[in-house]
Amino acid sequence: MRRIVPIICTVALFAFASLGLAQTVATTPVGFTTATIPAAPSGTTPANTTICSAFYAPAEFTGAVSSVDSSNQISLSGAAFGNLTTVAHLARFKSGGSVGRFFVVTANSATQVTLNTAATGGSGYTLTTGSPGAGQTQVVAGDSVEILPANTFGSLFGTVPVANSGTMPFLTGATFDVADNIQLFNGATWDVYFHNGTNWRKTGSGLNQNNTVVLPDRGMFVIRRATSALSLNFLGTVPSTTEKTDFPGPGNTFKANRFPLDTNLLTLGLQTLPNWQSGATFDVADNVYLWNGTTWVVYFWNGTNWKKTGSGLNQNTTAVPTGTPFFVVRQSSASGATSTLTQTLPYTLN
């Protein structure tokens, strides 16, 4: 089973180099968690676990929106950006109506960034209009924004295998079925990634995936085929604001626990989402799936308490530990702001 050791949320303060981009360099609390990937019981029986990282890469720029230029473009005061797309970057809103949202930067000039607002691969939220929902959060001049490198397979796990004096710890293989796998859910099915000894690859693709973005709210499903356990350290800046996570429906999402802190089903608060469907049985309710190391455990909100299929007990205090993602199956309708879970900061930053 995976063990998470959460720690250091507000202890160390680092000042990171700004690569010549930033007008303001903020000192930001950093932290780390360690996830243990269990060993495969045998060469033919892999071990399976779920992981996620709550941390961001250090910001390279912190400033304010000077103007909202279109539904997916903003300009930033004092910016002098170089290329923000060769190495993927995120724009992360730290104040205003979009606080807690992040967007992948798809293009930029020295002062302006174009953001991915598409529902697929992006946030699904535009910056100035009512789409996709009339009640969505928006952006205005003066909102605080960070520009930071996005987490990628390369940045999270390395690109050169440990066996070649690198840091990439997973079992490599020419094909997915002889290598460790990391699977990301794309809204319809699982994308399967593995390291072929040279680069990160994706089944069905001939492209190098080292720079494939792992968004901050993504869960990862790990299939470990090596018969030794593995410790993964996730290091970065600690979430310092409210976090927003979208759970559109009807549909399925595999999302991260956004804060490096243990929580439980009740505190997680999915039952408070607008239109969240409760029911006396799982089949008439929205479901949350947690991986227990062997299989998915199915939970649902009965209108009063969290319940588990196959159990008669109250599950409100069922743990959702640090580094644990959860799979949400919504049969209820939700889009735009009605699908957004807003989680306030569960700790204090000094």
């Binding site: 399967v192 009807p250 006396a280 199915v298």
Partner: protein, 229 residues
């Protein structure tokens, strides 16, 4: 809609991933808010605080449609599966599922809560007698702690209790079966939640068929003997 979505999630990579790894399926069963009774309207026996020593409950399926054919137990007395049930105290094998299981999940007199019954294709402890994809699963419960020692039983199914194609994680299907569900269909519909059907006095349809075939065979043999004479 949700069924389609779930299938998309858990069956999406069936072709590409089934070639390697543990192919499995999990079934969660519970009595929900209901209590099961015997024919005298007494709640079924849960045994001691230990798991596995109450009246028999079987997860299984019929080889024919609409409660016909043979009932094949995947768990409970008579099942070939003996993997250990997660959380059971003391460790309980699949072939001992009973009323009152699992105590740790709230099981008590007349009730059962058994999460995490995982069946692994090819596994000698949990992969025996698995049904074909699309088969309706059912729950059968008895009024005794063994089938042989029981006098009555009843069986229940639901159109949603469908065995899916086992698959490798994370696409492994999960089937949830609760007596709180709205679409329950009882073998003895006149006495739901009760062990109302005699174990021996009323053979199942398949037994009728066997008996008829046997009688037919006997008749043919008799005719053949007469013809030889």
């Amino acid at each position: 809609m949700v069924k389609q979505l779930t299938l998309a999630v858990f069956c999406g990579l069936a072709l590409s991933l089934s070639a390697y790894g543990q192919t499995q399926e999990t079934v969660n069963i519970d009595s929900g808010s209901h209590t099961l009774f015997n024919s005298a309207n007494t709640a079924l026996f849960a045994g001691s605080a230990n798991d596995g020593d109450g009246d028999v409950i079987q997860l299984g399926y019929f080889t024919g449609p609409s409660f016909t054919g043979t009932f094949v137990p995947l768990t409970g007395n008579g099942s070939l599966n003996n993997a250990t049930i997660p959380e059971s105290v003391p460790s309980e094998p699949y072939n001992k599922t009973s009323i009152g299981d699992l105590t740790a999940e709230g099981g008590d007199t007349g009730t059962f809560f058994l999460p995490g019954l995982t069946f692994v294709v090819g596994n000698v402890n949990s992969g025996n007698s698995l049904p074909s994809t699309g088969t309706l699963l059912a729950l059968r419960f008895y009024d005794g702690t063994t089938v042989a020692g029981s006098s009555h039983f009843n069986t229940v199914t639901d159109a949603l209790w469908v065995w899916q194609a086992p698959n490798t994680p994370p696409n492994n299907p999960v089937v949830n079966m609760s007596l709180d569900q709205a679409g329950l269909v009882w073998q003895d519909a006149l006495n739901p939640f009760h062990t109302s059907m005699p174990v021996t006095a009323v053979p199942e349809p398949s037994t009728y068929v066997s008996a008829l075939l046997g009688l037919s065979g006997l008749g043919l043999a008799t005719l053949r003997r007469r013809f030889k004479k």
